[in-house]
Amino acid sequence: MKRKISGLVMVILMLFTAKAISVAEVNPPQVGGVFPEIELLKPDNPAELKYLGLSGSGSFRINQIKADVVIIEIFSMYCPYCQGEAPSINNLFTLIESNPAYKNKIKIIGIGINNSLFETNIFKKKYKIEFPLIPDGDFKLHKIIGEVRTPYFVVMKLKGGKTEVIYSKLGALGDNKTFIEQIVKSSGIK
């Protein structure tokens, strides 16, 4: 009986420790830091796969995207602010894709927090979004990146398989041209 109780106490202590560690790890990405290694669902759209420089199905990591710089928009189709920002992010995408100096070097993806694929597809269709939107239906990624509010933008430089965060901020990006100049300068791409 005594052994059974002490076993249970041990388990409770382990759970407390595990919980404390999981809480302590929750922090938004920091500029200068490394973006957490997260597994994302590959888009099933061939054009989007090609845009990211990927093939096949399953999951991928950010450092596998064929680009020098990756912009991640953390959003939700249920977020009114994200809905309002959608046209501006589309404009950012157009500015990048229409400039030969940035096209193929800077890529954008959206991660839909607590959104199913059905829901990210609704958002995509509603706002005619051309870059890939990846669902995070179970908050798995949201927890890893610090449970940020939406929309949240993270920009990272990819080099040698590493992902260095060069921008990490809650809320609208502001003027898109100024934003592009800022990330081009921070990333050192030419």
Binding site: K4, L8, V11, I12, L15, F16, A18, K19, S76, M77, Y78, C79, P80, Y81, C82, Q83, G84, I113, N114, S116, F118, E119, I122, F123, K126, F139, H142, K143, E147, R149, T150, P151, L170, G171
Partner: protein, 195 residues
Amino acid sequence: MKKKIILAALIICFFTSSAYALSEAYKKNIYNPGDLKPVDSLLKVKVGQAAPDLTLKAVSGKIISLKDYYGKKNVVISFVPAAWTPVCSDQWPGYNIVKDIFESHDTILLGIAVDNIPTLYSWTNQMGKLWFEVLSDFWPHGAVADKFGVLRSDGVSERALFVIDKKGIIRYIDVHNINQRPPLEKLIRELEKLN
């Protein structure tokens, strides 16, 4: 066996939390009540029954009755527990961008909360212009929620969805875990069945 059950319960308690993705649209004005008992009421209606009629004042100033839609439109009623709380604040804005899907199924949406009109006005203003009516079930407090059997013991409603067809018959009920948002695809599938 008993030990295994205790262990399972402990693990669930420690690692189940009501995560939510909160829009910056609400700034820091959202009150987080924490994890609540998933369901805290007993349904008084069931699928196949006639829906109880309701008449409530909307934020728009209109007086809305369920019977106004009989023979004309299918109706989805979305009860949300409380204004200015996390999950509720990120539910109706999603419905706000799928007006076309509702319309394609000849369906309108009524949002209902037990908060008063001024509170609902301030809160829903943060969501942008809503295409659907938001009704206040404030006084007699929660009377409509109670008719459906979704009034919780603390005076807020459940997070519940009711699909009512043009004949006024309840076709679908989802009294959802209050800590989680109901998946949109499930609701849309139910609307598809109405055709």
